[in-house]
């Protein structure tokens, strides 16, 4: 089956996404060297998740004032997080299902099960949460969030990252 990328998209939004060209330059490629059963895996979600009451939520007020702006910051989410500990800030999708079961966006429980079964070697201690709606330039992500996320991933010796935009 070939996935229809536009099945759930309102028809009026379609021109915004059709005919997206690949960025210039060669596609980067980092070979995956270890056995999966020996690899440490991290997750990255763009659902705008934060630890409720512990981390600041993503800034939706500014986005409401400046609709072309999106909060470029990020949060680290501990691998053992429980569903009730997460909040979600994202004005472009309904958050009810993610809050009911965050595994649909950040599958921490499923990854932990696969690690316990030996399918993957280990779960990275911290996963990564960003809010997917961003300014077109992506300057905030590029200048601040990316280097900080890379520091985290290197610090926890992640061999690979599963990214899931929402």
């Amino acid at each position: 089956m070939r996935v229809d990328s536009f099945r759930f998209l309102p028809r009026s939004f379609r021109p915004l996404y059709e005919h997206v060209a690949a960025p210039e330059g060669e596609m980067p490629w980092a070979p995956f060297e270890p056995r999966l059963a020996g690899a440490t895996i991290a997750l990255l979600s763009s659902a705008g998740l934060h630890l409720e009451g512990i981390q600041p939520p993503f800034d939706l007020e500014r986005e409401r004032r400046e609709p072309t702006w999106g909060d470029p910051s990020w949060r680290s989410i501990p691998a053992g997080v429980a569903a009730g500990e997460l909040g979600m800030c994202h004005l472009h999708v309904n958050s009810a299902d993610v809050l009911a079961d965050p595994n649909i966006a950040l599958p921490t429980d499923r990854l932990a099960e696969l690690a316990a079964e030996g399918v993957v070697g280990a779960v990275a201690p911290q996963h990564v949460s960003v809010m997917g709606y961003q300014e077109r330039s992506l300057d905030g992500w590029r200048s601040t969030t990316l280097p900080e996320v890379l520091d985290l991933l290197r610090g926890e010796a992640a061999d690979g990252v599963v990214l899931a935009p929402v």
Binding site: P28, P67, V130, V161
Partner: protein, 107 residues
Amino acid sequence: MLARWIEEAGIPTVTVTMMPEVAVHAPRVVGVEFPFGHPFGLPGDVALQRRVLLTALTVLAGASAPGTRVDVDVEWPVPLRDAYKSWQPAEPSPIVAAMLARMRGEG
């Protein structure tokens, strides 16, 4: 673009996406025909979440060339009309509200 930048920094990535056609920047892509906000499936559907994650890990570890795309052959189990409505926020996002206002000639 995060996938591309992380990959450029030397860490392998796989991107699970509802819009594989649009993820042309990402070196390894797993496509799912699911409503937005649901890259790993339905709440409580452990088997489906596991299937998507296992597919992603298989592609992460096994893809041999940049630009690899594998689609998950699962039809969303909720009728299209309901699924189409339920992923959308109660209010249009600020940018959509602004676009709608402009189309109506208000802005």
